[in-house]
């Protein structure tokens, strides 16, 4: 056997290498998938909040009831009692528990402030003390450096404190006197994750009480005082080093069982509450697993198929070269089985020798991918899927070898004895090709129509390429023959001979099929990588909204603008945004922005910036401004009928504090009255804007007539212009009751009154829009009528109009509305405490952020959170979908190499025959240059046709499979997925393949021509 293999060592190496490639692809797929899943778990554990990575058991006892008194009060469960609630099987999956205790207390020193008092086991090791020491005795606390600065606390400061129990708790709250033992400047992020120790010092987070940062106390503090409502907590963190995907996926049902068990605790027992958002960990991991199981095979399977195709090519070439030997075997009495056995003895041995090499390559590539792509140091696990893949690879290699050997073994001896195997001319399909073509067409057809899912769907792109390759390869022979004959008739012998050689060479079909599949996979993989990268970038930008976003605590629109000014922000580089977040999945998020700056800074769909600016432009009406603590105007009525109840006229103003107010002007009398001067007190010392006139009366009282006002002025005697009639709008044009501006001239305004029974009717200045224009994404909320809908305004429900629609809006989900902040503020309502004030930066600038942070703290606001687009992109890059798609780079490179190998194999297999044929031409006088043209003509057209066909089928496969490739870790709520093809990438890759393979083909052609000597004619075959 060794002698046989040593006779054609290069062939043996090539066959073994190709079998190794097939094996490597098969084994690497589950290996990489598993490593990817484990890495996904590590990433989730590293980035997930404490609410997901640790099981939190809390107990705050039962408070004395105001009706039942203290009889049913229960203290919170102790650490031991909490630990006993967790089943052993669940405890074994988690790390060592960490106990904690919390109360909320307030102090008046030097001014009222409240915050939490916290003890957590092992706390001192995770605090960086700036002054003093970590507390150890009862009554000792450590305060934050921000508190020390804001409130003047330091080591030795005594702070009398009172507990803040829940409202309605009877009895007196506990009191204690704390002594500051130290000041902490920093704390370990992992240990204190989720505790938010700092960030609220001196602020009013809910725009109510002033807060201070957390006070860190020693455990005895909680035993020394009879706190009314202390919280006892026991946290069981997950151990990242010991938590793999299998362990992680076991947790949710166990958590559910524990939750159920806690809910069934007997009445009267102290409360025990489980808080563990473990599905926030498992869902992304499961989604990542699902994506990896789609993408990894989608990329690796075609490469494996390609390897198998090239292996089939190499084996066919080898078997063809052994036809004379098979003939000898048949002539000496071996039957078909014996002939097949003769071939298998050598070819299968060589092919299977490549299998262990392939396993080694798979592990090597797995380590390489693990080092280059995956974070951490996940192990490469050999589990059942890896073994199954290995068995599959062995079966594929064996079956392929058997089929090739069987085909040659079955040939009649007379055919085996022919130097050139008989070929059916024309378009006739062999049985195997016909079956493959039919199966390919069925699979692709089912896939395109959406009737094919699951593993077979993943093979569709490769199958499509194979089908195209088969068709093109079959067409090559008759087309090349006809073209060759035409060239002969046209008197062009070199191209004619080249084409006729292409037609008669047995290897042409295999080369075409191989290069078509390789080019298709290259283009498909390249597009998948590019489209994935593009979508991740857009998703990161949409998720954060801008290169950097800082969320502030407390404050108002005016103070935010002051912070921007104080921080000396370069013009246009930072813009305020107010966010009313969506409450539920289907709810609409509302963002209030300054359109011009927002369009420049925020991430928006292409072309949406100009539409936002245009759609959200403020009404083109100048405001009517007044200043003074007293306003003066003239007022007259004409034919006023006031009905049976008092009728009052009021002037609506927007104060400099941003709040609207109604200033009573006069009680109206019936009939016609001459103009008279009216003076009213108004809090407009710092300036107001007139927003409307209001008529109030009792319900069902009818009022008609006209009112003329004029000469309105504040502290300066200059009357303000009241505009023209079109500057005033009826609030509800469909209502039967209305105030209308019938005449306006020279500073006076005539108001037509027609009240059919409403208690108040409003004539609004158009400077305040009656409905807020909005740019929307997704569907309008329920109850919308046409383009009108009710959105969440600055303080609650607000009438809005959809002025434009875009595919998606930044930092929002399925649907969102974008409105003009300045215009919305004209409505004059107090800010919703739940609304988030944010600053969006046009760049990630640490120095600028530091200045903003400092300016915010100076105005008793703090930066609660900073989100960066780069961090969001990093997180998306560290996901199963990204890692899976990045495999496409390896696949693309491997495809090109395998294709090059195929061209090389074809050249090596045929060079003797080709040089002999060229030697015949040489014998008949063809010069060397002509031989070179013939030799190159046999190579280059085949390569180019195949690469073009492959590129086209790769483009088609990309289009067909676009929706099957998971591009992001989770399906985005917003409609931002863009699966359009990356044409530049695909065309460049096609060009690269064409150039690289043509260069190799040129080299083979030149070498063949150079090795053509007349001696070839007398060489043995």
């Amino acid at each position: 056997m060794l002698k046989v293999i040593r006779h054609r060592p290069v062939q043996a190496v090539v066959i073994a290498a190709l079998a190794a490639l097939v094996t490597a692809c098969a084994v690497l797929t589950p290996l990489y998938q598993r490593a990817l899943e484990q890495a996904s778990v590590q990433v989730q554990l590293a980035h997930a909040p404490a609410s997901a990575t640790q099981l939190q058991l809390t107990s705050n006892g039962i408070l004395p009831d105001i009706y039942s008194g203290a009889r049913f009060a229960r203290p919170p469960l102790t650490r031991e009692e909490l630990e006993a609630l967790v089943p052993r099987t669940l405890r074994d999956e988690l790390g060592s528990p960490v106990a904690a205790r919390v109360v909320i207390a307030e102090t008046d020193h030097p001014s009222p402030s409240q915050g939490r008092v916290i003890w957590r086991a092992g706390e001192c090791a995770h605090l960086t003390m700036q002054q003093g020491r970590c507390p150890s005795a009862a009554g000792e606390i450590a305060v934050s450096s921000a508190d020390a600065h804001n409130f003047g606390w330091g080591p030795g400061t005594t702070l009398p404190a009172t507990e803040v129990p829940p409202k309605g708790t009877p009895g007196n709250p506990a009191t204690a006197t704390f002594t500051v033992a130290g000041v902490y400047a920093g704390f370990g992020a992992g240990f204190w994750d989720g505790w938010a120790l700092t960030g609220v010092s001196g602020t009013q987070p809910d725009r109510a009480e002033v807060a201070h940062d957390a006070w860190i106390a020693a455990e005895p503090t909680f035993d020394a005082v009879a706190w009314v409502n202390p919280l006892s907590e026991l946290d069981f963190p997950l151990d990242p080093g010991a938590t793999g995907i299998d362990q992680l996926l076991r947790l949710p049902p166990q958590a559910d069982r524990l939750r159920l068990a806690l809910a069934r605790r007997p009445k009267g027992a102290a409360s025990a509450h489980l808080s563990w958002d473990v599905t926030a960990l498992t869902q992304p991991v499961l989604e990542g697993r699902r994506q990896a199981r789609t993408t990894v095979p989608l990329l690796m399977a075609p490469l494996g198929v390609l390897g198998l195709v090239v292996l089939w090519m190499a084996l066919t070439t080898a078997a063809e070269q052994r036809r004379p030997e098979v003939a000898v075997a048949r002539l000496r009495g071996r039957g078909v089985r014996g002939a097949r056995g003769y071939l298998l003895a050598e070819l299968l041995t060589v092919a299977l020798a490549g299998v262990p090499v392939g396993v080694g390559i798979a592990f090597g590539l797995g380590r390489l991918a693990r080092g280059l792509v995956l974070p951490g140091n996940v192990a490469l696990e050999v589990r059942a899927p890896v073994v199954a893949a290995l068995v599959l690879a062995i079966a594929a290699v064996t079956v392929t070898t058997w089929v090739v050997a069987d085909r040659v073994g079955r040939e009649p001896i007379a055919a085996l004895l022919r130097r050139v195997p008989p070929r059916r001319p024309g378009w006739a399909l062999g049985t195997a090709d016909a079956v493959a073509l039919t199966a390919s067409a069925l699979i692709v057809g089912a896939f395109v129509t959406g009737n094919l899912t699951g593993p077979l769907a993943l093979a569709a792109p490769a199958v499509l390429a194979l089908a195209v390759g088969l068709v093109v390869s079959r067409a090559a022979t008759p087309v090349a023959t006809r073209l060759g004959r035409r060239m002969l008739r046209l008197g062009r012998p070199a191209p004619a001979i080249a084409l006729l050689q292409v037609a008669r060479r047995p290897g042409t079909r295999g080369v075409i099929a191989l290069l078509t599949v390789a080019a298709a996979i290259l283009v498909f993989a390249g597009n998948a990588v590019a489209v994935g990268g593009r979508n991740r970038a857009v998703a990161a930008a949409q998720e954060v909204g801008a290169p950097m976003v800082a969320t502030l605590s407390g404050g108002s629109i005016a103070t935010v603008e002051d912070v921007i000014a104080d921080a000396r922000v370069p013009a246009g580089s930072v813009t305020p945004v107010l966010v009313e977040n969506a409450v539920g999945y289907d709810e609409q998020a509302n963002l209030f922005v300054l359109p011009a700056a927002f369009s420049r800074i925020a991430a928006l769909p292409p072309g949406a910036g100009a539409r936002v600016t245009h759609a959200l432009a403020a009404p083109d009406v100048a405001p009517i401004r007044l200043r003074g603590s007293e306003l003066t105007m003239t007022m007259a009525t004409t034919k006023l009928r006031t009905g049976t109840s008092p009728v009052r006229l009021a002037l609506r103003l927007l104060g400099s504090d941003g709040l609207a107010r109604s200033v009573p002007v006069a009680q109206l009398v019936a009939g016609t009255t001459a103009p008279r001067t009216v003076r009213v007190g108004a809090e407009c010392a710092t300036g107001c804007v007139v927003t409307g006139w209001e008529l109030a009366t009792d319900p069902a009282n009818s009022v008609t007539g006209t009112i003329t006002v004029g000469g309105l002025h504040g502290s300066d005697a200059t009357p303000v212009p009241l505009g023209v009639t079109s500057d005033w709008s009826v609030v509800d044009p469909s209502a039967r009751s209305a105030l209308t501006a019938t005449e306006a001239a020279a500073g006076s305004l005539t108001i037509g009154v027609h009240n059919a029974g409403r208690s108040d009717v409003l004539l609004q200045h158009r400077w305040v829009p009656s409905t807020l224009p909005a740019v929307v994404s997704g569907r309008l909320p329920q109850g919308a009528s046409g383009r009108s809908f009710t959105g969440t305004g600055l303080a609650g429900d607000t009438a809005m109009t959809a002025a434009a629609h875009v595919r998606w809006l930044p930092r929002s989900g399925r649907s969102a509305a974008l409105s003009n902040l300045a215009v919305a503020a004209r409505i004059g309502v107090p800010l919703d405490p739940q609304a988030e004030l944010q600053l969006w930066f046009d760049r990630d600038d640490a120095g600028l952020l530091a200045r903003v942070r400092q300016a915010a703290e100076a105005r008793h606001m703090s930066v609660l959170r900073v989100d960066r687009e780069a961090d969001a992109l990093d997180e998306l890059e560290q996901s199963a979908s990204a890692w899976s798609l990045q495999l496409g780079v390896l696949v693309a490179v491997a495809c090109l190499l395998v294709a090059a190998l195929g061209v090389g194999i074809a050249g090596a297999a045929s060079w003797r025959t080709r040089t002999r044929d060229l030697a015949v031409l040489r014998l008949h006088g063809t010069p060397a240059s002509g031989l070179a043209r013939v030799s190159l003509g046999e190579q280059l057209p085949v390569i180019l046709v195949a690469v073009i066909a492959g590129t086209a089928s790769g483009v088609l496969a990309s289009q067909v499979a676009a929706s099957s490739v998971p591009l992001l870790p989770t399906a985005p709520a917003a409609d931002l997925l863009d699966t359009s093809l990356d044409w530049p990438v695909m065309l460049v890759l096609g060009l690269v393949a064409a150039v690289a393979l043509s260069a190799l083909g040129w080299l083979v052609g030149v070498l063949v021509a150079r090795r053509t000597t007349l001696a070839r004619l007398v060489e043995a075959p």
Partner: protein, 278 residues
């Protein structure tokens, strides 16, 4: 070892190619006795190799019968044909290397050729003895590339004889050899025929080779054109009464000439139409 007889009756073989059928054999009646050594002569395309291939069971005749020993080849199964080639009939292809495994030594080639025979339980000679019988003792382990063309042909002959066949079919066994090598090969064939009793049928274009054979059969246009025995040329009457004329007679009697057979003294005279009887 004893030879095996080969008998053909009205053997016809037609090649079907793209667009046309070609009759390679048009009714061949031939009897090769067991242990006989004959040469098949004839111009290119006459059907010699086709007849050889049919005798070797490489393909089935289009019509007629061909019997090798007791086996009627036209009705034989694939298994029977494989067994025939393993035990009874050996084909020596034109071109020595076509009969040899290129990576194996002469001895290994002989062993390979005997493997199918051994698998069927038939006895075979020792490979060394086979090689010695063709004069290659001492070269059994030599690489094929180191052998002369004559030695290669002898190695191929050894491989053909390895199973101990009853019939050896040799296609141009002396082609591309110099005179000395040719003579060696011929002498070896004659010795094998004489000592082993192997029936030998060989195809040759070489007149000198043909002259050395005890019997020659000329194939012309798919039929037996004549025979040569002991230096004399004979025309063979076929079963259907066809009598091919020798080439030199054809030159004087072109196609369309009317002739009569006139009995005379226990034999027949061939008279052209315008000749008078004595």
């Amino acid at each position: 070892m004893t030879g095996t007889a080969v008998i053909t009756r009205r053997l016809v073989h037609i090649y079907r190619t793209e667009g046309q059928d070609v009759a390679a054999l048009s009714g061949v009646d031939l009897t090769v006795g067991a242990g006989e050594m004959i040469g098949l002569l004839g111009p290119s395309g006459a059907g010699k190799s086709t007849l050889l291939g049919l005798m070797g069971g490489l393909f089935r005749p289009s019509a007629g019968q061909i019997r090798v020993g007791d086996l009627e080849l036209s009705a034989a199964t694939t298994h029977q044909l494989d067994e025939l080639r393993a035990t009874t009939v050996s084909l020596l292809l034109q071109g020595a290397r076509r009969n040899l495994l290129p990576y194996a030594s002469p001895r290994e080639n002989v062993e390979f050729a005997q493997s199918a025979t051994r698998a069927r339980g038939a006895g075979v000679r020792d490979p060394g003895e086979v090689l010695a019988s063709v004069g290659l003792d001492g070269l059994g382990t030599a690489p094929l590339g180191s052998l002369t063309p004559g030695q290669l042909q002898l190695a191929a002959l050894a491989v053909a004889l390895a199973p101990g066949p009853g019939v050896l079919l040799a296609d141009e066994p002396t082609g591309q050899l110099d005179h000395r090598a040719r003579d060696v090969v011929l002498a070896t064939l004659a010795r094998v025929n004489r000592e082993w009793g192997t029936t030998v049928v060989l195809v040759t274009h070489d007149a000198e080779v043909a002259a050395a054979l005890p019997r020659t059969v000329t194939i012309r246009d798919g039929r037996i054109g004549g025979e040569g025995r002991s230096g004399e040329e004979y025309s063979v009457v076929s079963a259907d009464g066809f009598l091919p004329l020798p080439a030199h007679v054809l030159a004087d009697l072109p196609a369309g000439t009317l002739v009569r057979f006139h009995p005379a003294d226990g034999t027949y005279q061939l008279l052209v139409e315008d000749e008078d009887l004595p």
